[in-house]
Amino acid sequence: MATHEQAETLADATLPPEDIEHPGPRQYVVVAVVLAVLTAIEVALFYMEFIPRPVATGSLIVLMILKFAIVALWFMHLRFDSRVYRRLFITGIILAISVFLIVLLTFGVFFRD
């Protein structure tokens, strides 16, 4: 067990700055509304067949990443918590994306119609 002073020093090194206000219920509802709006945009994009497919696909991916990040940063509190948690999670995400991108590339998935 670390002594209290040492724990606090190490903890300080891993916490983000204290000046960010932690969200309350009202802020969380705002976040949820944003997420709902983004979802609505996604569904709308699906139906807008006049948009060229690569643009639609790209936009959908961007929206997906945005929603993912918002849930992670606010609901999962990563924005206000120690950076260590963020690193653990991002390592898993980046690793998964990287290796599977390569696997799918070897299968030529992105060169088919």
């Binding site: 670390a2 891993t14 996604e42 959908l60 609901f75 696997v103």
Partner: protein, 200 residues
């Protein structure tokens, strides 16, 4: 501590070398590994997209409005989850139970919706053994649904513990941990909804 938007009820810095709680660190490590779990399933799905030799194909069976409502339900359950955590951190146990129950009910709605959707697909001829689409779709969404179900069980357990007086404010971390798991399951669905259902 009745602050609306301030730091939650003061929790002592855990006596660990990093100052972080063991269980929270463990949960985040586990969620990191789950990225690889779902990443493998999603990649398998992507590999086989468009390669099924016989139908039904996605465009034959998908009901996007229906699934959109389902997705909305799950997204809102993340809101109720975070409100539940906020409630226990403020010491408001009645609201805690209300929001926990709401989250569980929304989760049950989602899983119920999935089960219904699967039944419809099966009736339309899409089974796990029918073609590549059937295999990769049902296994991916099935594992997701199983994860949601485990989450519902944990939420109901917390609800029961709170009812019987075994979930005091000092044990808010338990709600936080279940919450992290629940939000992760939501986030996976965000990816599945876009990649599996929406992207042509």
């Amino acid at each position: 501590m009745g602050q609306a938007g301030g730091h939650p009820a003061a929790v002592q810095t855990p006596h660990t070398a990093t100052g972080l709680d063991n269980r929270k660190l463990g949960m985040w490590a586990f969620l990191g590994s789950e990225c690889l779990f779902f990443g493998s399933l999603i990649s398998s799905y992507l590999l086989y997209r468009g390669r099924s030799i016989v139908g039904p194909y996605p465009e034959d069976v998908y009901d996007i409005p229906y699934t959109s409502v389902s997705s909305f339900v799950l997204l809102m359950s993340s809101l109720t989850m975070v409100l539940a955590l906020n409630a226990i951190q403020r010491g408001d146990h009645r609201r805690l139970r209300a929001w926990l129950l709401a989250t569980a009910l929304l989760g049950i709605t989602f899983v119920g919706g999935q089960v219904f959707e699967f039944t419809v697909f099966v009736n339309e001829g899409l089974t796990i053994s029918r073609n590549l689409f059937g295999s990769s779709f049902f296994v991916l969404t099935g594992f997701h649904g199983a994860h949601v179900t485990v989450g519902i069980l944990m939420l109901l357990t917390l609800f029961g513990q709170s009812l019987s007086g075994h979930l005091p404010t000092e044990r808010a971390l338990r709600v936080e941990l279940v919450g992290l798991y629940w939000h992760f399951v939501d986030v996976v669905w965000i990816v599945i909804f876009t990649i599996v259902y929406l992207i042509p």
